[in-house]
Symmetry: C3
């Protein structure tokens, strides 16, 4: 039995397999309409994310399965102090697979260790949100035909956007990937992404502050939202914000087969008038997300005989990441893993993967 | 593909067709129990209305379909600032038909224009709530056998009650309809209903302030709630409220085949003791509402080839109705339609239908 | 048609029948997977209880039926002042059976009288929660093989725990039951349980304050949570709390076939390390609860021809129990039943069963 916590836990072959299944589902939906007959998916949302929840529920229903929902944490046993461990054990009695969204980093990992059914991470704080990345990847694949030799522009908030880091990570596996990272100075990608991914794997990238200059060379443009509250200097925000809004006008110099992506929800960072442009792929991305979730549910429900290689763990002091699940979950051992990263040994918390000791 | 925003968008023939289907469903439920197999209904409630939501969900399940639910706006992407347009586009990827309840007038119209699946308006602010009116109409039809030659008493708050205006509008189509409008002075029907419907179509009506005098002549009595907060003079409220409460006693002079309707929820405007009177139809109305929703879902899901005649629209200044969706939805053009009403040209907002320019 | 308000409304034969069905479901789930095809269960939670709600929903889905949910009272017609009576009447139009959780004592009884479909009480304030007790009982039965000749330790808050009182009541029916009641002085079982159940039926029991002394003799250990806020003296709480926490260490003197139960959610009253002990049955209990709910749904849906013997009722003054449904539900008659209890005539409120006149 297998769970999905992070998209990098999937091998390239597994990722390709998921894409193939998703595309086959899109072509032959009737072949899958009874695939999960009699199975139940539980969606456990300890913080709201209606879009993601509905996508998973639609996915399970289209596979012929059923759904039980916990839409809102405030009405849950968790409000009475129940641990993620207990929730996962109990919900294993009610459902065949569960989807967890939780504000604490590492929560999905704890659930996966405790549950007797597969767990899908639908976002654990700022840590991972693998099914969003799967939606991004399949959209690139379907629009561009291949993952190779693509120049990918990523625009907006590159500092805090977990989907951005995850996409960089995932696309860095493929031959010929080049990134153009478009952001204001305050919101450039964090050092650990630059060092541990781009430089380590020798991926060509440019950092620019201007969307219009970058536009002509892009095969893929991944837009994100710039949140006012991320700026220390609000004058700077006011001065900059319009330059990161995608308009019909700014698209004039773009390639005719550009694919424009956005994880949604959008606020105003893409003009509604762009929606009618055939290069706008962000609503297709929502559809693709559902297809990938269907493929993933099928894969995990069929993984009874899978057993994960146990990770070597070391006990240690309390994790210092304040968003880590270990800070709130009762009787959880503080455990660490050690690995080579950029030529040095790094010790990371087993749960939230923060380097805090 | 067709949506339902307002009950007056249905022709008399279509309305009769829905009633026939609903009655056939009541008689032969097994014939319909697989009619929507494999289809999904999304219920999107941006303000709570449990009764309406459950009625739609029960309807879809009895047709063999499935349901995905957004019970509460506060846990939605809308809370992150997502537009109705984007929500409708994305949910079109997850469901085959959607039901929308929204506080802003015109929201369902915006959703219908953006969605690629049919949209049913389950209430857009004070504007329309067509499936409540469908429940009212089928109840009159089933109880009285026909829509013709009925004297209809409407009692309570006739000023603010959107179901009241909608019922007057719909019943004014039929031969021999007569209204007795029973309300305190402060809560009489608005001028535009009197002029644009009753006087324009030459429908006989009386306005009275006393339920007991009106009672003997009524074929149908439609009760509504009088809300304390509607009164500017609370002494007036205290003096009047009991005279608009329906009791066993007040029913003594009523016809033996009177049909008592109420849109529910009731607070205390009908005594619980009236529930056992065979003339009390308000719980049947709830059942009928489900049947009409089933008929409507079937009709709309079967409307792939329907294409609406485009309305002639004119650009104009911002709509002045503060409850209009145009005040909050991003990049929505201000558009108007022009039509003859009571001998003069009237320009109305395309979205909320307010006459604001 | 029959409802379930209190576990004592079931005869010993009926209880045995439910256990048999539940065990057969566990063995042959495929035989039941279409048993409720086309039926709908409504879950109406006027206060949150995610665990109980999900258990019922999983149960109905595993029987092949469907579910409509009201997860949160704040988004319900009840918030507009609707009565339990009206809610029950209306939901009878939408569902074939309903589950009600409500903060007021007697609410489920009112719903059962008004509904035209069976009602299952999923907790009415401090009054009853029969399906929790059914989960407890079947777990004892499956673990111990029989209900007879068991020494049952109940540990923690015996004063306020409604599941504790219900369990004592139910197990007192069986031959050879002996209770060891383990609690701090402030939280001993109430006098009415001692007098009306234990002493009346001559059940052997001991009251002790120490878990460790009691341990060696127990066949079943039922743990509950001690809430800090129950103590008038917080120093006392601090002094005592650890002695009521079950640890691996305290289990050393226990029988090898002890069954450890807990109604869940747990906070910290059982160490997580105990979970791996084969004697820990509290997660099995969650599974068993689902099975018993399946058996109960089947039983009640098959009870069309059941008609309850009407209780003799007497009108009386307002019930003085401030948690009673009669205090908030409109136009509800104050009614009482009279019965022999411990040699004297006792008059109890028909709804909440409090002895208040």
């Amino acid at each position: 039995m297998r769970s999905l916590i992070d998209v990098v836990d999937l091998s390239t072959e597994e990722l390709d397999g998921l894409c193939e299944t998703a595309i086959d589902i899109a072509r032959n939906p009737e072949r899958y309409s009874d695939a999960c007959r009699g199975k139940k998916l539980a969606t456990l949302f300890f913080e709201p994310s209606t879009r993601t929840r509905m996508s998973f529920e639609a996915a399970m229903l289209e596979l012929g399965g059923n759904v039980i929902t916990m839409e809102d944490a405030s009405s849950s046993s968790a409000a009475k102090g129940e641990s993620v461990h207990d929730t996962a054990r109990v919900v294993s009695c009610y459902a065949d697979i569960m989807v967890l969204r939780h504000p604490k980093e590492g929560a999905a990992f704890v659930a996966a260790k405790s549950a007797s059914v597969p767990v899908i991470n639908a976002g654990d704080g700022g840590h991972c949100h693998p099914t969003q990345t799967l939606a991004d990847l399949i959209t690139i694949k379907r629009e561009k035909g291949s993952f190779e030799n693509l120049t990918i522009g990523i625009c907006g908030d590159l500092k805090y956007g977990r989907t951005v880091h995850s996409l960089i990570n995932a696309m860095s596996r493929y031959k010929g990937t080049k990134f153009i990272l478009i952001s204001p100075d305050e919101l450039r990608i964090p050092d650990y992404v630059r060092k541990n991914v781009l430089e380590k794997l020798d991926i060509p990238y440019e950092e620019v502050s201007d969307l219009e200059t970058a536009m002509p060379s892009l095969d893929v443009l991944y837009m994100t939202r710039i949140q006012r509250e991320r700026f220390t200097d609000l004058d700077e925000y006011e001065r900059l914000k319009d330059s990161y809004i995608l308009t019909v006008d700014k698209l004039k110099t773009a390639k005719s087969d550009l694919a424009i992506l956005h994880p949604l929800p959008r606020v105003n960072e893409i003009s509604v008038k762009v929606d009618d442009d055939p290069r706008a792929c962000y609503f297709k991305q929502a559809l693709n997300g559902k297809l990938m979730r269907m493929a993933l549910i099928l894969k995990l429900l069929g993984s009874e005989n899978y057993s994960e290689e146990p990770r070597v763990t070391l006990p240690g002091p309390a994790c210092k990441n304040r968003a880590c699940i270990t800070g709130v979950e009762q009787e959880l051992e503080f455990l660490y893993t050690e690995r080579e990263e950029g030529g040095r040994k790094v010790r990371r918390c087993l749960y939230c993967e923060a380097e805090t000791v």
